[in-house]
């Protein structure tokens, strides 16, 4: 039996690496083993429980970055936040452990100084320089969506194309340009509708404001939303999106002042359906109930397209004062409220005990901004490239990115299964009582793996 009174524990044997593992996993494992020998840093007060299980996981992300190593210690009762921060702590004794590779993760058998055996999983911290400011993804007080844990299983969403129906996207941003979803069926600049979808040269989405093929953001909003979904991760600069690798298609229908009309919005829906986008982020709202829009959303539902919608920023109750499109009662519509860094609902966020489906971080969210200042950025005194802003608009792309990641991880899922994975496996927060259905706050890790232990 493990002696809990002893501070720390020793890893004493490194044995056999299973053959046939992928080279990148080997690299990751080597990194992990080096890190283990140098950087074990249990959180204050942590005591490995009797019969604990360690699982060491590695993902592609771990190979490409040089960031910190994270260690999750779990047992049958739940996970223990147990991270090995770079440059902190030390292993108390020389360690030897056994590793085996299973699909998607590296599992290492460990044995402590008393002969207790277990398994350990190692994940990694991305090396993006601003990652520490992304409290919604990882946060010492756990008011986050457990993105780090999820990334041990899946980081790449490129198989699921996500539409950002917004003010466009600055596709020249270094963190977004490689995650722009290009239309392989179209030949750029030949003036022809090569893929016969009704849009000429729609290489990278469409601009419904001007009726052209250039959806570049002239506001700021869409670029920020897109960054939360899929800013390039592990590239050593800036931020990381929930999808470290993504395929984002900007559908611009809001103008440089952030305004648009339903006619263009519905055109964007129809286009999204036509080019087989699977997840749509809708960080906008307004107007009244509209039957044509309802029909368009129903058509998306039939086409198995998930529709994430911001609940609204008026601080009002959507149960009594509906906010559209979030309040359309169609199975594919998920209404999203905003929480802050202590899991309280944001003071501006609309809410609804029966009409708002889930909450996600939406206060002071850091993400990408246009690299050249727009009029609105200048007026508001914003910096270029990266900024923190707040809104249910910022919460919604957390869920959209999560949806894409879940779908990429389990490609056999239907749209409704993806939706249910997000909603049914969310964390429950007492702070959201009476505000959100089931007091749900997004948990990305559990959306990927419902069996992941709860704290």
């Amino acid at each position: 039996m493990y002696d809990q009174s002893k501070p720390g524990w020793a890893l004493i044997a490194f044995a056999v690496l299973t053959t046939g593992c992928q080279m990148e996993s080997l690299h990751a494992l080597r990194r992990s083993s080096q890190s283990l020998s140098q950087q074990v840093d249990p959180q204050p007060g942590f005591q490995p429980p009797v019969g604990f299980t360690l699982t060491i996981q590695a993902s592609a992300l771990s190979v490409t970055n040089g960031g910190n190593v994270a260690l999750n210690v779990t047992n049958g009762q739940g996970p223990f936040a147990y991270r090995i921060a770079k440059g902190q702590g030390a292993v108390s004794a020389a360690g030897v452990f056994t590793a085996s590779i299973v699909p998607g993760r590296v599992i290492i058998e460990v044995m402590d100084s008393r002969g207790e055996r277990g398994q350990a999983a190692i994940g990694v911290m991305p090396n993006d320089t601003m990652f520490g400011q992304l409290y919604g993804l990882n946060n010492p007080n756990d008011a986050d969506i457990d993105a780090l844990e999820a990334w041990d299983l899946q980081t790449d969403c490129r198989s699921i194309r996500v539409g950002v129906i917004d003010t466009g996207m600055d596709y020249t941003h270094p963190e977004l340009m490689t995650n722009l979803g290009l239309n392989a069926g179209e030949i750029a600049g030949n003036g022809l509708d090569d893929d016969a979808n009704g849009f000429i040269d729609d290489i990278m989405g469409w601009n419904f404001v001007t009726g052209t093929n250039d959806p570049r953001d002239d506001n700021l909003h869409g670029t920020h939303v897109a960054g939360t979904i899929g800013a390039l991760g592990g590239n050593g600069v800036g931020v990381a999106g929930i999808c470290v690798r993504a395929s984002i298609v900007p559908l611009k229908f809001l103008d440089d002042a952030g305004g648009g009309d339903l006619f263009d919005a519905i055109s964007a829906f129809d286009y999204a359906r036509k080019i087989n986008l699977k997840v749509l982020n809708n960080s906008w709202g307004g107007g009244g109930f509209d039957n044509t829009m309802l029909t368009a959303i129903q058509a998306l539902n039939t086409a198995d397209v998930l529709f994430l919608a911001a609940a609204g920023n008026d601080g009002t109750n959507n149960d009594t004062v509906p906010s559209f499109p979030a309040n359309y009662n169609v199975p594919n519509v998920v209404s999203v409220a905003a929480t802050n860094n202590v899991d309280a609902i944001a003071n501006f966020s609309n809410f609804g005990a029966t009409s708002v489906d889930i909450a996600a971080p939406g206060v002071n969210i850091l993400s990408t901004f246009p690299v050249v200042a727009t009029a609105e950025m200048t007026l508001a005194g914003f910096a270029t490239s990266y900024e923190k802003i707040s809104g249910t608009s910022m919460a919604t792309p957390h869920v959209a990115g999560a949806a894409a990641l879940v779908w990429a991880y389990t490609p056999t899922f239907t749209m409704l299964q993806v939706r249910d994975a997000l909603l049914n496996n969310a964390d429950t927060k007492a702070t959201l009582t009476g505000r959100v259905v089931g007091t749900r706050r997004l948990n990305l890790m559990r959306a990927l793996d419902p069996n992941y232990p709860r704290p």
Binding site: G222, G312, N313, V363, T431, T433
Partner: protein
């Protein structure tokens, strides 16, 4: 003639300039938020109701004061950092209104509790410049002051319609012409249209056009083209 100390005059003048500057700066930076306080939640009045709220189109209610949106739910230690750039759709709409030119404004007859509806037609910087804003007001019984319960905006001089399958574009053109309108835009799918008309500065013109087009069997769902905003 009394002697005045020029140094003192200079100091007073500088102080006055500084105060004026601070005032101007404050006014500029708080313009949106001050105006926005006058706007409440989005009004979801079903279109087609006239200028008085009906049972089918209730005046939206704010959340009960006993459960404010965040304060009661926020545990100690809530993020106290200022929230940058929280723009609701209502604030963006207010910005559009503030920068627009009011062409017409019309208030409904107040109901027994004093609530009323204001319809304004504005020329704005929006893609379709003529915008119709419907805003609900209530009267604070204590102070007698009117306050907004929210607004909804739409393009004032066109109607969105769908062409019923089986009918042709030519038939639609005939209908539109006979209704005194013109086809302003066609959706990429080809099944939806914006029907523009003149006289949009009349607060009732949009409803009249919808009613007229609604009698036709070759189109369906004639409706306002609502304005929406990033939030």
């Amino acid at each position: 003639m009394k002697y005045r100390n020029p140094k003192r005059i200079l100091i007073v003048a500088v102080l006055a300039l500084v105060c004026a500057g601070i005032g101007a700066w404050w006014g500029f930076n708080h313009r949106g938020s001050m105006v926005a306080e006058n706007l409440g939640p989005v009004d979801l009045v079903a279109y087609g109701t006239r200028l008085a709220p009906t049972a089918a189109a209730p005046v939206p209610q704010r959340a009960p004061a006993s459960i404010p949106a965040s304060q009661s739910a926020s545990p100690a230690g809530e993020d106290s950092a200022p929230q940058k750039m929280v723009l609701s759709g209502q604030k963006r709409l207010q910005n559009l209104v503030d920068r627009g030119q009011i062409l017409r404004a019309e208030d409904s007859k107040p109901s027994s509790d004093g609530s009323f509806q204001r319809v304004r037609i504005l020329r704005t910087s929006f893609k379709y410049p003529m915008v119709r804003v419907i805003e609900n007001f209530e009267i604070d019984q204590a102070t007698g002051r009117e306050f907004s319960r929210g607004a909804v905006a739409m393009v004032a001089d066109h109607v969105a319609v769908k062409l019923v399958p089986g009918f042709t574009f030519a038939q639609l053109q005939n209908l539109v012409r006979s209704s005194g309108g013109e086809i302003r835009a066609q959706s990429p799918n080809g099944d939806r249209f914006l029907i523009g008309f003149s006289g949009g500065e009349n607060p009732q013109a949009l409803e009249d056009m919808i009613e007229r087009l609604g009698r036709s069997t070759i189109i369906s769902d004639p409706a306002p083209d609502y304005l929406v905003f990033a939030n």
